[in-house]
């Protein structure tokens, strides 16, 4: 217990404490002024908004991928299973450069989108694309083991009792795996909020339009404004914490309900 606590303190609590202490050099109103600056607000809106959209997209895409891996047997299934983890292994800068090359106006997909008048790279949409990419494995890996555990006999029973395919999925399977989906979404969201490397290449970084909150932190550091940077970091930490806490509560409630 003591060892665990010491390690936890060294690795997690002390750095976080430093982040919590630093901003107050500016004073309460200084921190408030930093966080309510319209550029910071715009960056928060983009970072958290894009992370939420990306996590929601990951929920759908991740469920489909996990479903395919668990429920179907097809050639290349093991390969697909291994590919899922690649976004984890790839340095985020590499992911960012690759995505930008593909979605830039002269890239294969970017050119396609440009023809129908949609700007992908260098716009908020590009941010969502990058965040969806890096978040996908979290949902797949959270859902996959739970889906494997779902009792097929219960589904069979539902079928013999006359349930349609839709009813089986929505009333039987989904309630069982929903907590896992939410867990994965929470992880994808948390990762996406703080993501810098992969986003910075594709975002365009225009103030008030496509500037993410982590970039604002870098900008403040670049001006040797350590306290201001820490204030933005603290703001992100608080919002993330509240969002993850809410997600956790829903997850716990769902788990209890499905057991009870």
């Amino acid at each position: 217990m003591a060892i665990t606590l010491t390690w936890l303190s060294l690795i997690v609590l002390i750095p976080l404490a430093a982040l919590v202490i630093k901003p107050w050099e500016l004073g309460l109103d200084g921190v408030w002024r930093t966080l309510t600056d319209d550029r910071v607000v715009a960056a928060f809106r983009l970072s958290f908004g894009a992370a939420a959209i990306a996590a929601a997209a990951d929920a759908v895409l991740g469920l489909i991928v996990a479903w395919a891996i668990v429920r179907y047997s097809f050639p290349g299934r093991r390969l697909l299973d291994a590919l899922v983890d690649l976004p984890f292994a790839l340095p985020t800068a590499v992911a960012g450069i690759a995505l930008t090359a593909i979605y830039a106006p002269n890239g294969p997909l970017g050119a396609l989108f440009a023809q129908v008048g949609i700007k992908t790279a260098y716009s908020p949409l590009g941010v969502v694309l990058a965040l969806t990419f890096i978040g996908l494995p979290f949902v797949v890996r959270a859902v996959q083991p739970v889906l494997e555990e779902v009792d097929r006999e219960v589904e069979e029973a539902a079928r013999t009792l006359g349930a349609t395919d839709y009813q089986r999925i929505v009333r039987v399977v989904l309630p069982a795996i929903l907590p896992a989906i939410l867990g994965g979404v929470g992880l994808a969201f948390a990762r996406a909020v703080g993501e810098y490397g992969s986003v910075i290449f594709i975002a365009g970084n225009l103030p008030m339009v496509s500037e993410i909150a982590p970039l604002l932190i870098i900008i403040k550091l670049e001006q040797f404004d350590y306290a201001g940077a820490a204030a933005v970091g603290l703001g992100m930490l608080v919002i993330s914490f509240v969002a993850l806490l809410a997600l956790n509560l829903v997850q716990t409630w769902l788990t209890r309900r499905s057991r009870g």
Binding site: A104, F201, N205, I218, I219, E222, Q223
Partner: protein, 347 residues
């Protein structure tokens, strides 16, 4: 572009410097005692586009030093965005020498970490800048939009690529060059210059964090019609990407003086002051001056200037001191939070 990779390599250097530390101390001590000098290391912390230049200068200086003293030198170099590099030194990177993109970054090291005196820039000739550069306009081959000067950049439909002045030293020079041009037009005033800058940045679709990232956007992603560039990077891009671009010299630009300095506290602790000061003086030697010209920097020395006279076009250049009242003032007016650059993005 290689943000993470560079960061890693700098960590590597840090580790290397730490390991080599004791050997260096011993080496310095022995050299003073006139014995057979032990090998020494030197760390030059620089900014992005000087990589190739310092690679050659380091080799030349190591050779020069070996002949002069018999001591073997290993010179390590670290590159990254100028501001980021300055911050690393403030946070403890053991740089014997800093060679950065602008004086402001070394000022910050002097002010925040007190590692060198505030008057560092007057210790070496010519504002401690052994070579200079300027800002030019890089356009696509054949100059399809007929861009001749700063004023052409705000024509309808033109897209301009420059990094973010908040995060890139080079971008600050770009911005100030454009400002100076607008200010020096007939009837020019600070208000008119600000209006021009505001219009100019409405033509900027992407703000990368560093000059190399912007060059990738322009050269490889094919975005934009004009790239605001260091003169030396403009020459380099034609070497690197093939002759795909033309360099356009505007009617007026800015004299960029990338300064160099010995970091006093660190060289005194590591006993490398003689080697480090020798290195900076060496930068002013005819041999090193010739290398700066070869690597597309404008040399200061008369001999190298004469040799490369045909390469660098003579255009009127303003300086940071005569037009902007020095870096500290320019930084505060234009680039600090709430400064002009923030203002032009407010609706």
């Amino acid at each position: 572009m290689t943000h993470d990779i560079r960061h890693l390599s700098r960590r590597g250097l840090l580790g290397g410097a730490a390991l080599a530390g004791p050997a260096v101390l011993a080496g310095g001590g022995l050299a003073m005692a006139q014995g057979a000098p032990k090998p020494a290391t030197l760390l030059n912390v620089s900014y992005d586009p000087t990589r190739e230049l310092y690679k050659e200068i380091n080799a030349a200086y190591a050779k020069f030093w070996k002949e002069k003293t018999g001591q073997t030198l290993t010179i390590q170099q670290s590159h990254g965005g100028s501001g980021k590099q300055a911050r690393s030194v403030i946070d403890g990177l053991q740089a014997d020498i800093v060679t950065l993109a602008l004086a402001y970054d070394i000022d910050e090291i002097a002010q925040k970490a007190k590692l060198l005196p505030a008057n560092w820039q007057s210790r070496l000739p010519q504002n401690s800048a052994p070579y200079t550069s300027t800002i030019v306009l890089l356009v696509r081959k054949g100059n399809p939009w007929k861009i001749r000067d700063w004023g052409d950049l705000v024509k309808p439909g033109i897209e301009v690529i420059t990094p973010n002045p908040k995060t890139s030293g080079g971008a600050r020079w770009n911005y100030l060059a454009a400002w100076a041009w607008a200010l020096k037009q007939p009837g020019g005033s600070p208000a008119k210059a600000e209006a021009f800058i505001k219009e100019l940045f409405q033509h900027v679709p992407i703000l990368d964090t560093g000059a190399r990232g912007s060059l990738t956007t322009f050269a490889q992603r094919g975005v934009g019609d004009v790239f605001l560039s260091w003169e030396n990077e403009a020459f380099l891009s034609n070497e690197e990407f093939g002759p795909k671009f033309d360099i356009v010299y505007p009617s007026l630009s800015i004299l960029a003086e990338p300064p160099v300095a010995v970091v006093d506290k660190i060289v005194d602790r590591r006993k490398t002051r003689t080697i480090a000061e020798g290195y900076l003086n060496f930068l002013y030697s005819p041999l090193a001056q010739d290398l700066t010209g070869k690597h597309h920097y404008r040399p200061r020395g008369a001999q190298a200037q004469a040799k490369y006279a045909g390469k660098f076009k003579k255009i009127p250049l303003v300086t940071i001191d005569d037009t902007f009242g020095g870096w500290t003032k320019a930084q505060k007016t234009h680039f600090a939070d709430g400064g002009v650059f923030d203002r032009i993005y407010r609706p």
